[in-house]
């Protein structure tokens, strides 16, 4: 491919590294992530502990890898669920128009009014902090964006001549949505999902930092940071890597999203 | 007043305007004609020292004896509005939507003439009267979107006139307006030029509009001024094949009288091909490749300017057309 946007390369590389670490952690980690060995705590990097150990003697690299897995899983499932539901609602609104559209869009507007992080905190408070509840909360706050994006693009597709022709030949709304609308809005939905992925990672990190996300002993970057913060004077090095992982992942998905958007809409790129 | 000598404007080494030379005497009305991309708009911007930053400017622009081609932006700024002002194509987008009409007109006066608020407002009202806007007092407090297209263009003209410039550059000022309104704006520009003894450079691709407003015209193609002369003569008796093509391409309603409006014209039909990109222009005569009477030498050799008749008319062509047999 010629002339791929630079952001696509950098973003892809960052996401690739983190995703690889997460995948590898499924089959192999340097140490067991739950093993506590207080005698081994605060070890500097060595052949055994590549990135050293934390206050409980756990291997930092292992924690980071499994943390990547947990972060990405939550983001993937949550954005997948929220995106699917939101897109379905948006497609429905775009196809039906009229009252359906009005109601769906109004609901989306309303959900927008509720700040994402606050909503997630509220759910965690009501249902108790857990992996699953973090997924549900993040999935939920992702719905309205996808509703708006898919509805707006679906409506444009519905105005096009070939769709009007398909309607004239008495094809059903579902068939037209499947054959014409969905393929046309796929690109924009994927771009949106990529960008929302970054947001999901940030919210998950904040939830975990507050102790409302992934629960111990499962490692997560956010909780690694909140634990490291209490040891700031003792072992400041522990605050560096989990934060860098979050930044790399969020930056990666943001850049990837920017790059994909430029690919999907070359006019935008030219306009820059 | 304005003396332009060998003015060239180039982008990445490609000349968008190639050693143009002309004068703009006080009170003169000069038409600048050509298809889009011929270099007329950028020439106009250069008259205000507003050529794009990416353009390399060479040659001389002399205003009242002051050499301006390489003048610093600060000096140009003090000339704008006071010596030279410009009216643009789209009257709605050319007016700041968030400012009241009165403030738009008053701002240059407060800045350049150091008028206080009341004096500037009074002059703004007088200017609105001068450009023919009814109920000027009420208009001063309105916003651009509340005015009609023609009124917006008049407001823009009023703002341009606010500091009594000696030259008004009008770049396709009527293209966005409907025919009837456009005609009245053309008449306004002509009248303003006469009553204020103000020079006017009128840029258009519309020959009727140019004929209606100007006394003299320059025809541009590919950055070259290919022909110049008194407007009526030049239209009646074109000597450059491009000018002839332009004239023949306009829709003819009546062979003798010119249409009284400035309506936009469809693309030129009688000239084959289209204007090449800047980088693809021929080195010699820019019109080579599209010219119906092209000779082998044309593409490689830039024709010199020939002076025709008593000296008022010039043409840049190796083989200018013969005089048409027009009844005097």
């Amino acid at each position: 491919m010629r002339n791929l946007p630079v952001s696509l390369w950098i973003g892809g590389a960052l996401v690739g590294v983190i995703a690889l670490a997460a995948l590898v952690s499924l089959v192999w980690t340097p140490q067991d992530f739950a093993t506590v060995a207080v005698s081994e705590r605060f070890q500097p990097p060595s052949a055994r502990y590549w990135l050293g150990t934390d206050q409980l003697g756990r291997d930092v690299l292992t924690q980071l890898m499994v943390g990547a897995r947990n972060s990405l899983t939550i983001a993937l499932v949550a954005v997948g669920l929220g995106g699917a539901l939101g897109t379905a609602l948006g497609l429905l609104a775009g196809a039906k128009g009229g009252w359906t559209e009005e109601i769906v869009l109004r609901l989306a507007d309303f959900s927008f009014a509720f700040p994402a992080l606050l909503f997630a905190i509220m759910l965690a408070a009501a249902f108790g902090p857990s992996f699953a509840n973090a997924v549900v909360a993040i999935a939920f706050i992702n719905i309205p964006v996808f509703v708006r994006v898919s509805c707006a693009s679906a409506r444009q597709v519905w105005q096009r001549d070939y769709v009007l022709a398909a309607r004239a030949s008495a094809r059903g709304g579902l068939a037209i949505t499947r054959d014409h609308v969905l393929p046309n809005i796929a690109a924009i939905v994927i771009v949106q999902a990529t960008i929302d992925f970054a947001g999901a990672i940030l919210i998950e990190a904040a939830l975990s930092y507050l102790g409302l996300g992934v629960q111990p002993p499962e490692p997560s970057w956010g909780r690694m940071l909140s634990e490291a913060q209490t040891l700031l004077f003792l072992a400041p090095q522990l605050t560096v890597l989990p934060g860098l992982c979050i930044v790399a992942t969020v930056l990666g998905f943001n850049l990837l999203g920017d790059g994909l958007r430029d690919l999907a809409d070359p006019r935008r790129e030219k306009a820059r | 007043m304005y003396k332009i000598r060998n003015l060239s404007l180039s982008f990445d080494g490609h000349e968008a305007v190639r050693s143009a030379s002309f004068d703009i005497p006080r009170g003169a009305r000069l038409g600048l004609v050509g298809e889009s991309g011929c270099g007329k708009s950028i020439t106009a911007l250069a008259l205000l020292g507003m050529a794009p930053a990416s353009a390399r400017v060479s040659g001389s622009i002399e205003i009242d004896g002051q050499e301006m081609a390489a003048a610093p932006e600060r000096l140009w700024r003090s000339y704008r509005a006071r010596k030279v002002a410009m009216v643009f194509q789209e009257p709605l987008s050319a007016l700041n939507p968030l400012k009241r009409v009165g403030d738009i007109i008053a701002e240059p006066m407060r800045l350049h003439l150091r008028l206080d608020r009341r004096a500037a407002r009074a002059r703004a009202r007088d200017l609105l009267v001068e450009v023919g806007i009814p109920d000027p007092e009420a208009r001063l407090d309105q916003y651009p979107h509340q005015l009609s297209g023609g009124q917006r263009q008049r407001v823009l003209i009023a703002a341009a006139l606010s500091c009594d410039p000696q030259l008004l550059v009008a770049d396709e000022p009527t293209t966005a307006l409907d025919a009837h309104v456009a005609g009245r704006i053309l008449d306004l520009l002509k009248r303003l030029s006469e009553t204020r003894d103000m020079a006017l450079v009128f840029i258009s691709h519309d020959l009727e509009a140019v004929a209606r407003v100007t006394e003299e015209m320059l025809v541009m193609y590919g950055g070259d001024i290919v022909e110049r002369g008194p407007t009526a003569q030049l239209l009646a008796d074109p000597r450059h094949p491009y000018t002839k093509g332009l004239i023949e391409a306009r829709p003819r309603l009546d062979a003798l009288t010119l249409r009284a409006d400035g309506a936009p014209r469809p693309r030129l039909a009688s000239i084959p091909g289209s204007v090449p990109a800047l980088a693809d222009l021929p080195k010699g005569c820019r019109f080579a490749g599209r010219c119906p009477i092209e000779r082998p030498a044309c593409a490689g050799l830039r024709p010199a300017v020939s002076v025709l008749g008593p000296g008022q008319r010039q043409v840049r062509c190796l083989a200018p057309l013969l005089p048409a047999k027009v009844p005097a």
């Binding site: 009501a126 930092y209 700031l232 605050t239 | 968030l98 606010s162």
Partner: protein
Amino acid sequence: MPFLLRRLAGLVATLTGISLVVFAVMNVLPGDPALTILGLDSTEDARAALSAQLGLDQPVWARYLDWLGGILQSDFGTSYAYRVPVTELILERLPLTLTLGLLASILTIALATALGVFAAARHGKAGDWVTMILSQLGIAIPAFWLSILLVLLFAVTLRVLPSGGFPGWAEPLEALKSLVLPVTALVLVQASVLARVTRASVLEVAKLDYARTARALGLSPRRVMWGHVLPNALVPMVTVAGMQLAGLITGTIVIENVFFLPGLGRLMFQAINNRDLYTVQALVLLFASIVVIVNFLVDMIYLLIDPRLREGRS
């Protein structure tokens, strides 16, 4: 005016909707609120006693109306953990959160505008690139990690600023000092997004004809930028600014916990850990309402900026 009335009606509807959602999520969906408060290890009897005490034997809608009616008289119920009216808890901690939020909002807008205009004015040059790369990083940094890094630098290493806690308003200078790092962390993150939007918007407007008209009338680049380009660029900026302020307000929840600042966010966190249902419920409603109202006010700024909107076009 019809625009204003429509927006006001929308505001009331949204606030009502939010109260419904908050009530439903906190009271109805999880099942027994007494269980939420007392936890799974509580006895049946204790839960029944608490239910009666909280009036949970009434139907759901009656409880909702009761709660809403109380709120309208600024009565948020009694905190189960602190045994004092929730309103009292909130009023006690509101000034700190308000100061933090306001300081951060003002600085965010100022910094973002300055950076956005700076980058746009140097479009394509080094200054633009550096600003854009830094802002891309700023968007990706979680505010709480940035806070930790700031603490590491200014509190642990340089020892010029406190690492957390709040000395109270009795010592204004010390109080402000303890807010420096929290505000910085909030501002740097939120201003990154806004600066990018500002830059894009300014570039868009600067291409427009009226910017050229202003230049052609002899206005200086500075005057063109601040008098003509920026006011127009503000229009799209305002929407994003509204969303940024929402992010900033919820950001204070996290930041207060990073720096152990006894504000509403810290209170919320403690209330969640104490299963203090009414306090959590009140705080969620309060934060969400502040966000909605801020966005409403931001919408009103449109009316001030853009005369086209004042005529009732929506």
